[in-house]
Amino acid sequence: MSELVIIGAGPAGLAASIAARECGLKVTLIDEFIKPGGRLLGQLYQERDGTWWNGIKETDKLVAQAEKLGVEITCGISVYHLNKHEHGWLVHTNHGSMQAPYVLLATGAAEYHVPMPGWTLPGVMSVGAAQVMTNVHRVKVGKKGMIIGANILSFAIMHELQLADLNIACMVLPPKNEISKSAAKPMEVMKSLLRASHLAPSPILRFGSRLLINESLCKLALRFLPKKGMSVWGIPIHLRKAAIEIVGNQQVEGVKVVDITMDGEPIKGTEEIVQVDFVCISGGLYPLAELAAVAGCPFHYIPELGGHIPQHNERMETPLKGLYVAGNITGIEGAKVAIAQGFVAGYSIAEHTGASRETAKRKLEEAMKNVKDIREKAIIQFYPNVKENRDKLYGAYQCI
């Protein structure tokens, strides 16, 4: 029997398994996907120094380290329930139940949906789906596509699709509705992209800096945006156009786009159909926290961290004894932060069990400091003011 079951073999789960195993704990690591790595697998971007962050290679390193230490990794396991039992936690899966005194939820994130007419047609998918299909499965999702939604994630993946020789017609905003909210307002989108541009991994993501970080200049820039859009990596980015319908019979044949006002309202008479055979919709990420909810963990709603966050402290403990969280379930950040948080969770659990307590304690402190350092240096930040919101969250932590 394992002392620790980790649900999710992404960057956080893998790192936690290494840390806990280093301290002598028996660890079982499970994942629903066909191989370990989670969202890290699809990542591919250029660092400031020009080297590539290759998610597959990073995953391989972590997996090799975990396996060398004797972590048992099983893929293809879906967890449908988690509950407290007299001897600890019961993890219910499609391959039977597991019992352990400690459980770490490292379930990562999923993408917010942005529904629009025609979005159920084959060939329409989330931007993350296209990323996995391209970089992990190495299958082209189509010949020519459109990206709907302009945010850090969609820019990063647009570039990845281009690297794999897929043709991207353009990027436009989603239609204005109750779900898309500020993601459909050119001004808001521009501001959020500018906020991110100084952190951008390559000169290409810094396109906005030319437009200066000033609201009136921003407005001016949007007003005089060329008809053919701004060009990023040679792809037109239309912040003054929105997709209003995806058209096609049995699959995607095109997207109806329309010019929009500064506030995202469609301008009548400007509709046109852009012919594409695939569409990627990008609505941003939210923490995948259902298991924390069924386990009875209290939550905080923090939009700046991606949505509903299970309550936890800097040691990655939830208020429920023996239940820990790490990675994107604690708020949306990059894979490097997730890895660092995974180490914190692993050492934190080890220290709590009393296994190699002195080492665990020392390493835990180092790991906690490391999370903060990495967060400061992060070049991909999905939401603004992560640090401030984290401080608020940890300040609110209470034992129950």
Partner: protein, 394 residues
């Protein structure tokens, strides 16, 4: 803003919504105070039926049939469709003993003039190709009907709004006092409200509201679980329960395994318009806890597979648990409270809130108007029946 009303209803579930509809239809000014969202308590954690099949012949089934008649009218009267239909419902039997008991049940119901009839093996086979081969038969009540409980609540609340009712959500009642003028002063999280009359339609929370006026209300939460299964081939067209459900409901002894007994599990199957289906049921007294207990879910699933073996391959979408407002005689309290003139209780419907909402709304309207004659007799529903029996617990 004026927050003074003829009638204030505490609770925006199916019962509060129905009362709001009937009372505002009578021309009185009405407000509903709901601490959360409309239909966010038991009314959205239930299934949706108006049944006579599981009622004792006599007053219980008379009340249900009166409600059924009103719901039929409402389906024509209200603007919003709430998936109302009346296909009848059936009970299935798994043993000879149950068949004998079922025959007695049918005989008693027929004597009372209700459209009941026995079903044999081949009738059962016709009902659904998914039934287990060994089921012996069952019985049918032709007039039973079904609704979508959320839509029914919303349709009533929208209907009430059209007639001028004000609905305050996220408004939690903190205290109720009777002023010297006889009006009620209600302190809430959205400020002070005043009313000539107050109706406590707070379901499982009714005792807490009662306590604010020193009125003990003997309602206890009785937890139930439901499984929602994915849309697929139609399993059946109407509500199915096992005969043991009757025994379980009335607290009798069944020949079942210990967990089934412990959790009060009995099969309830309900197809929905969207072609999903709901599977219940369980009955437990475990306080105000709505956490899904996986052991109960497994027990319900086992029970469902016993009656529909092929369900083992069907996909579950989700599960939920809710709390029925239980009273010890299985009848709701629909009554004026004589100790506090102008204060009414409309709560304690256990598993029949959807069934009896319409008649409850109608009766409260009649009580408020102090009508000499009510649609059905209200004696069995009076609040003071508990005092007579000496079972009011504070």
């Amino acid at each position: 803003m004026k927050k003074n009303f003829d009638v204030i209803i505490i609770g925006g579930g199916i019962i509060g919504s129905a009362i709001a509809y009937y009372v505002s239809k009578s021309g009185m000014s009405v407000a509903v105070l709901e601490k959360n969202e409309l239909a966010s308590g038991t009314s959205s954690r239930c299934d949706g039926n108006i049944l006579a099949i599981d009622k004792d012949p006599g007053f219980d089934s008379q009340m249900s049939l009166a409600s059924q008649k009103l719901v039929n009218e409402l389906s024509k009267e209200l603007e919003h469709h709430f998936e109302y239909r009346a296909p009848g419902s059936i009970l299935v039997c798994e043993t000879e003993e149950e068949m004998i008991a079922a025959e007695k049940w049918v005989a008693r119901q027929k004597e009372a003039g209700l459209p009941f009839k026995m079903l044999d093996r081949s009738d059962i086979r016709q009902e659904s190709p998914f039934f287990a081969d060994d089921l012996l038969g069952g019985l049918e009540c032709e007039t039973d009907s079904t609704v979508n409980p959320y839509l029914f609540s919303f349709a009533l609340a929208e209907g009430a709004k059209k007639k001028g009712a004000n609905i305050y959500t996220h408004t939690e009642v903190h205290s109720i006092k009777k002023s010297t003028t006889g009006d009620f002063k209600i302190e809430t999280s959205s400020g002070l409200f005043t009313a000539k009359k107050v109706v406590n339609a707070a379901g499982i929370w009714a005792p807490m509201i009662g306590k604010m006026l020193d009125i003990p209300i003997p309602i206890k939460p009785r937890k139930g679980h439901i499984i929602v299964a994915s849309r697929q081939q139609p399993v059946g067209l109407r509500k199915v329960m096992e005969f043991g459900y009757l025994i379980s409901k009335f607290g009798g002894q069944r020949k079942v395994d210990p967990p089934t007994e412990k959790y009060g599990v009995a099969l309830v199957f309900e197809p929905t318009e969207s072609q999903n289906f709901l599977i219940g049921s369980s009955r437990e007294f475990v306080g105000m806890n709505t956490t899904v207990n996986i052991d109960v879910i497994k027990c319900i699933a086992r029970r469902a597979i016993r009656f529909y073996p092929k369900m083992a391959d069907m996909l579950v979408i989700r599960t939920y648990a809710g709390l029925r407002p239980w009273t010890n005689d299985h009848l709701p309290i629909i009554s004026h409270v004589d100790e506090v003139p102008g204060f009414y209780i409309a709560a304690g419907h256990e598993g029949d809130g959807i069934s009896l909402a319409a008649i409850t709304g109608k009766l409260i309207d009649e009580l408020i108007k102090e009508k000499s004659h009510t649609t059905i007799p209200i004696e069995p529903l009076r609040y003071d029946r508990f005092k007579v029996k000496g079972v009011v617990h504070s």
